[in-house]
């Protein structure tokens, strides 16, 4: 053991220790690796087709043009029509907004009643709900097509909204249940002694305390539903295809010239909404996930 007679205060540490160099090295390399495709997409989308044909995909654009972006948004051909992604964007908005609101609300109320208003069979109900989250969607696809056809909503926005709401239930209910279980039970008891009922306790006591978990649920649903392809292509009908389906139709069209710059612009446009959601809400997301995960 070595001792220094002059030692006093914080121990001096040099910044460039071997550990630090290795850690930062790995982080920087990993970051570059993941950012490279994005870089290629952005530069390609800003190039004209002749420049792309030269083949230097890592080179920055010599002549910056926003033509591909405009085309992707307004006039690229998605199947038979050539109106660009704009109609798909609005379809996606029309699908995502109601599905998110309805599913988050129902899941919050279910989670709250599962924790605080235990009814006979509530544990069984919860187990069945959980099992639902383990079954692959594809298994239920055909029965759901039959059911929505019977309900005469197949091929409409209502069908997609209904399907998204149902499939959001298991994971969202679990999220809310765990969060509400982590709140002190005595608060709920105090509110009952104060005479508040089911809905008043929910809206005036529970919801104001649960904003982080609401943020998480909304983020999960908005990004999940926006990114969905399967339900959109099956249930929405041609008129109501969400953005993801239209993007696929642009990128995978087999006729004419492959317009890589338009494809890249269209892809970035489609991915923009989830990306913005993550950037804006990253802090909330982590906080909420941590809060919801503590108790089982």
């Amino acid at each position: 053991m070595t001792t220094n007679a002059e030692a006093s205060g914080p121990r001096p540490r040099s910044f460039f220790t071997p550990t630090r160099i290795v850690i930062y090295g790995i982080i920087i390399v990993a970051a570059l690796y993941y950012l490279l495709p994005l870089y290629v997409m952005i530069t390609t989308s800003l190039k004209g087709l002749p420049e792309i044909r030269i083949g230097n995909i890592f080179a920055p654009p010599l002549e910056v043009t926003f033509e591909p972006w405009v085309k992707a948004w307004t006039s690229a051909c998605t199947g038979l029509t050539c109106n660009g992604l704009a109609p798909g964007f609005w379809n996606s908005v029309k699908i995502t907004l109601p599905s998110t609101i309805v599913s988050v609300f129902i899941a919050a109320v279910s989670g709250y009643s599962l924790v605080n208003w235990r009814f006979k069979g509530s544990e069984f109900f919860f187990t069945v709900l959980l099992l639902g989250s383990f079954i692959p969607y594809q298994v239920m696809l055909y029965p759901l097509v039959m059911i929505t056809a019977q309900m005469k909503i197949f091929g409409t926005l209502w069908a997609v909204i209904l399907i998204h709401t149902i499939f959001g239930m298991p994971i969202l209910t679990l999220l809310f249940r765990n969060y509400f279980a982590s709140l002190p039970q005595e608060l709920f008891k105090a509110a009952r002694v104060d005479g508040a009922g089911f809905w008043r306790i929910f809206f005036q006591i529970m919801v104001p305390m649960s904003l982080p978990i609401f943020a998480v649920a909304i983020i999960l649903q908005v990004t999940g539903i926006w990114n969905d392809f399967l339900f959109g292509v099956v249930f929405a009908g041609t008129q109501n295809y969400p953005m993801t389906v239209q993007l696929n139709n642009i990128v995978n069209s087999v006729q004419g010239v492959r317009e890589y710059n338009v494809n890249m612009a269209a892809t970035i446009l489609t991915a923009a909404v989830p990306l913005i959601v993550y950037f804006v809400s990253g802090k909330w997301f982590v906080r909420g996930i941590a809060a919801g995960a503590v108790k089982g």
Binding site: P184, E186, L187, K189, A190, A191, R192, V193, D194, G195, A196, R200, Q204, I205, P208, M209
Partner: protein, 363 residues
């Protein structure tokens, strides 16, 4: 006097576990009852049943003469204070106090005057616009008491209200609760595992174990005449000394410990005079053991060797042995005791307690 809260043959089962076993309790108007017991004894469960937060399996609950067994908590005429304070975090103190009144649809000026009165009594007026997060533990618990106060109810239920506070605050608030009770004269039912709280606050203490009330009496009786070994061992810190032995009945009853020490118990007042000879336990509180020359005049005295000395400030606790039984006794803190020292100790068995070994009940 009319009983304020009355519990009749109350049972509660969680599945196959019987948490409360056919329990009876009568609380007089204005009485301060403390439910005391170790964790898991059912004391908080009983309180929750009285509050209406748990449905009972069998039996009835009466509050103010009305059968409230099936009534909602808000209709029972109770206010409740919780261990974790349970203040609504997003509301100011004022909103916390008035929440129940607003739910009940009370008029604005009536709410204001009740909140004002409660905050005056508890001296929390300067805190009314603060959120609970900006209050100290003691202030929070005061607000929680205030929330019960504004409801203007006959019965207050306290569920371990001081357990989350530090020792100093706990004793301060204990006095405040006592003062509050003397001023308001409401019926109060108070759950705690802290025997000091129970002994200082209660008019009567109910000692609970495994869902049953062991003894329901005033603090003095509980402390000096415990009905069974469990109560005797639970109450008192340091706990009562127990000597195992045999009790011989007759005109001159005498107790002989397992290792042959004879203790004459002629002056002991028996609940039920022993006839033959039976196994028994003699319990003596550490503070009833007398040290030195004064011990000579007592019915029992013996010379012992000091093994451990624990100075507590106000007095000193000494560990020793009578026969083979470990015994502790309290001595004045000015008496100088050293390990290995031989001293004379004695006690009057009339102040002790005798229990039947088989049934553990008081003799």
């Amino acid at each position: 006097m009319q009983s304020s809260v009355s519990v009749k043959d109350l049972s509660l089962n969680f599945g196959s576990v019987q948490v409360l076993k056919s329990l009876n309790l009568d609380v007089k108007q204005g009485e301060f009852i403390v439910l005391l017991g170790p964790s898991g004894c059912g004391k908080s469960t009983l309180l929750n049943c009285i509050a209406g937060l748990l449905d009972v399996s069998e039996g009835q609950i009466f509050i103010g003469g009305k059968n409230v067994t099936w009534a909602e908590p808000k209709d029972r005429g109770i206010g409740m204070v919780f261990q974790s304070y349970a203040l609504y975090p997003q509301m100011t103190v004022e909103k916390n106090l008035s929440f129940g009144l607003r739910v009940a649809g009370m008029k604005r000026d009536e709410i204001d005057s009740r909140v004002k009165r409660a905050s005056e009594i508890l001296q929390i007026e300067p805190l009314l616009q603060r959120k609970p997060a900006n209050l100290s533990g003691g202030q929070r618990q005061r607000v929680a008491i205030g929330r019960a106060l504004v409801r203007d109810v006959d019965v207050f239920l306290f569920d371990e209200p001081l357990s989350n506070l530090d020792a100093k605050l706990r004793s301060d608030l204990r006095v405040e609760i006592k003062r509050l009770h003397q001023r308001l004269k409401n019926t109060m039912i108070y759950v705690t595992h802290d025997q000091i709280e129970a002994l200082t606050l209660a008019d009567r203490i109910a000692i609970m174990k495994n869902g049953e009330i062991q003894q329901l009496s005033d603090p003095h009786t509980i402390y000096n005449k415990p009905v069974n070994l469990y109560v005797a061992g639970f109450i008192g810190s340091p706990s009562m000394n127990f000597l195992n032995g045999t009790l011989a009945g007759g005109a001159e009853p005498a107790f002989t410990t397992d290792d042959g020490v004879v203790v004459p118990v002629g002056r002991y007042v028996f609940d039920k005079a022993p006839t033959g000879s039976a196994k028994a336990v003699l319990g003596v509180r550490p503070e009833h053991i007398v040290l030195g020359d004064a011990a000579k005049d007592l019915p029992f005295s013996t010379e012992v060797e000091i093994e451990i000395v624990e100075p507590m400030g106000s007095d000193t606790l000494a560990w020793t042995k009578i026969g083979n039984h470990a015994v502790t006794f309290r001595a004045d803190s000015d008496v100088h005791l050293t390990v290995g020292q031989k001293v004379l100790v004695g006690f009057d068995p009339a102040r002790g307690s005798l229990f039947d070994t088989a049934s553990t009940n008081r003799l």
